[in-house]
């Protein structure tokens, strides 16, 4: 049976758009590595506009990918929003197009963190700075409306305390909150908080921009706000992917559904609190920041990541260990994604330790760990959902077709690409260098090797895209 609801159609349009943008962004990534490897030569302007586009697009698409999955699966429990979903789709498309115009036509190139006051030191077309903030505003509005409407849909059926599974802290809870609802609520609260911080940040930027010199921002405050937004969104999007894992992994594996227990509830409630203070680890090297924040940063970084990871890994491993599992592309991707997430998380925890940060901050160790839990973690969670949904949309079961090949290419390509970043970090090579100085004799070779492996990863993505596209188009072209 083919599923022909508006939500299914919208979801399939999202999936196609996300994968298209993903392919383009991976190509940009490969071009950057080739450029750093000296294989091709690019001007700094071109390199850095590319880097800004790559970073922004990647963060944007994997955030919306998580939202798409959560929105779709939500209909199992509550009446899932459709209008705000379509609204967000339109706003995302407009926002992304404007963003690409600012970076590719306007040559705007602050990096995706647009750290104050860099956007005001205009080294690009003058209109690009205001247009950049306009495009951020459009994305922010679309996503804020969407995430609030998802949360409201849940609160219509579950009270706040039940949505947060607090009854599980008592003895013999009379009501069970599904893990999917718990994780979704925790994550959406975080998402809304950091989007609000982004709104404040944009307002402050605009205030200075239009004040003609009478209003000046505080650089330390702006840095804190920037990372509160940037760090939090980058982490929450992973948890959106995890919410779909909690819902689909046991089901696809042919095992009983997971239940919320006291420790699952505790771990995710911890995440809610600590994720919002972990961002302080981005300011470790700002020695003027109050020392108490620095310590909170380290402790919160541990507490934000570890309980959720331990509970999830426990659940996934005990589900599989010595059990008969119906393996398919969907659950293999989820399974590998958890491993990638954990390995990237270890790299992150090492870097979130202040004494290590002194010698790792802004070296290639940083893209190393965040690419691990993105390219080999969150991306795999979303691909798992895409694959599952596309099969459903096309009305077919889990199919074979080049599965081994896809998985092998992803694994080999991803591992080689990431290893070059880690080695670069260990050799103290700075991140965001368009060309490497002579002293770093191995840096260019690392970049060239990484480009080759990334191309292997890209090959896997292309096969995925082809397969999923065909299935989604089957739904979209089906005449009513």
């Amino acid at each position: 049976m083919m599923e022909r609801t508006t939500l299914a159609r919208t979801t399939s349009i999202w999936i196609i758009a996300i994968l298209l943008l993903f392919i383009l962004s991976v190509v940009l990534g490969i071009i950057m590595r080739l450029s750093q490897g000296g294989v091709i030569s690019q001007s700094p302007v071109v390199f850095y506009s590319q880097m800004t586009t790559h970073g922004f697009t990647m963060i944007g698409i994997w955030f919306v990918a998580g939202m798409v999955g959560v929105n779709y699966l939500m209909q199992r429990y509550v009446s899932a929003p459709v209008k705000s979903n379509i609204f967000a789709l339109l706003f995302t498309i407009i926002g992304v197009v404007l963003l690409w115009v600012t970076t590719f036509v306007g040559k705007f190139h602050t990096g995706w963190t647009f750290l104050y006051p860099l956007p005001f030191k205009i080294a690009w077309a003058g209109w690009a700075t205001p247009l950049f903030f306009v495009s951020l505003t459009i994305l922010g509005v679309g996503w804020l409306v969407w995430s609030v409407s998802l949360l409201m849909a849940i609160f219509k059926k579950y009270s706040i305390t039940r949505a947060l599974a607090w009854q599980h802290f008592g003895k013999n809870p009379s009501f069970e909150t599904p893990p999917f609802i718990l994780i979704t609520v925790i994550t959406l609260i975080g998402v809304i908080t950091c989007l609000l911080a982004a709104v404040l940040l944009i307002v402050l930027f605009f205030a200075e921009y239009f004040s003609s010199g009478t209003f000046v921002n505080d650089p330390l405050l702006m840095k804190n706000l920037t990372y509160f937004f940037g760090h939090t969104i980058a982490n929450e999007m992973l948890y959106l992917g995890l919410a779909t894992l909690y819902e689909l992994f046991p089901e696809v594996s042919g095992r009983p559904k997971w239940k919320t227990t006291w420790y699952v509830a505790l771990a995710w409630n911890c995440t809610l609190v600590f994720i919002l203070t972990a961002f302080f680890h981005h300011m470790y090297m700002d020695f003027v920041q109050p020392e108490s924040f620095q310590i909170v940063g380290q402790v919160a970084s541990y507490l934000a990541s570890l309980p959720a990871a331990v509970v999830t890994v426990f659940s996934v491993l005990t589900l599989i260990y010595r059990n008969s599992i119906r393996w398919s592309l969907t659950n293999v991707l989820y399974f590998m994604g958890v491993a990638g997430w954990v390995i990237g998380g270890l790299g992150a925890v090492i870097d979130a330790t202040i004494t290590n940060n002194l010698v790792l901050h802004n070296t290639l160790w940083v893209p190393a760990h965040f690419h691990t839990y993105n390219a080999m973690g969150n991306v795999l969670f979303s691909l798992a959902f895409f694959n599952w949904a596309a099969n459903r949309f096309a009305g077919i079961g889990e199919s074979g077709g080049a599965n081994r090949l896809k998985i092998a290419l992803l694994l080999v390509g991803g591992t080689g690409f990431l290893l070059m970043f880690y080695l670069g970090g260990a050799y103290s090579i700075p991140r965001r260098f368009n060309i490497y100085p002579m002293e770093f004799s191995l840096a260019a070779s690392f970049a060239r090797i990484a480009a080759v492996f990334a191309a292997v990863y890209l090959a896997a993505v292309l096969i995925f895209f082809w397969d999923i596209l065909r299935k989604c188009l089957k739904l979209l072209t089906y005449s009513r």
Binding site: P44, Y48, H109, T110, T113, L115, L118, K121, A123, D218, P219, L220, K223, R255, Y263, Y284, M285, D286, F287, V288, E291, I295, Q298, Y302, L303, L317, L319, I320, Y321, R322, N323, S324, I325, F335, M336, A339, V342, I343, L346, G347, I354, T355, N356, L358, V359, H361, N362, T363, Y422, G425, A426, Y427, S428, P430, R432, F433, N434, I435, P437, E439
Partner: protein
């Protein structure tokens, strides 16, 4: 690669390999001829409680070990015998023994430090954020602090090895970020 970087890399690779082995092992353990335990529960409630407690304790021990080694507390009790003022600007570093200002742009001054003396770098920026990263002769990053407009970050350090040290920019600051550099010597 410095000892510290090597330790970090090896630690990470070992942990990553361990995770990979566990996942592969568990994957291989699943299959048709398995024991089919229906409840899917591995540990009981008390065991879980202890596991959590142990994990939390381990984290706090690790944190209490590493936090005191943070750069903010380095040589906190001593007073520096040498102060170096650092002002960053797109795209160069000014290092000077005197405070940098309109009267003293600080550029072009050669900085020479003595082995083992306590140096305090007072780092700021005159435009955007930059990163003051100190590299030793073997190109290892040994310490850093951010150069931020409107603020002065104080980094204290004792150089044990004589030689030429490089300063590279460790915060993206624009087009020439990768070539923004300076150096000083330690005798």
């Amino acid at each position: 690669m410095s000892d510290k970087h090597e330790f970090i890399l090896v630690l990470f690779l070992l942990l990553a390999a361990l995770v990979a082995i566990v996942f592969v092992y568990v994957y291989l353990s699943s299959g048709a001829k398995s024991s089919q335990k229906e409840d899917g529960k591995g540990l009981n409630n008390t065991q879980r409680f202890w596991f959590f407690l142990l994990l939390t304790a381990a984290l706090f021990i690790f944190a209490s070990f590493t936090i005191p080694k943070s750069p903010y507390y380095l040589f906190e009790k001593e007073s520096p015998s040498r102060v170096v003022f650092v002002a960053a600007q797109q795209y160069y570093w000014a290092l000077s023994s005197e405070a940098i200002g309109p009267g003293n742009p600080g550029a072009g001054e050669a900085i020479e430090l003595k082995r083992g003396e306590l140096v305090e770098f007072r780092v700021t920026s005159l435009d955007v954020n930059h990163g003051f990263g100190i590299y030793d002769e073997s190109n290892n990053l040994i310490a850093q602090t951010q150069a931020m407009p409107g603020y002065v970050n104080r980094l204290r350090w004792k150089f044990e090895k004589p030689g030429t040290y490089k300063v590279l920019c460790l915060e993206f600051c624009g087009l020439a970020h990768a070539v923004m550099r300076a150096s000083f010597t330690v005798r």
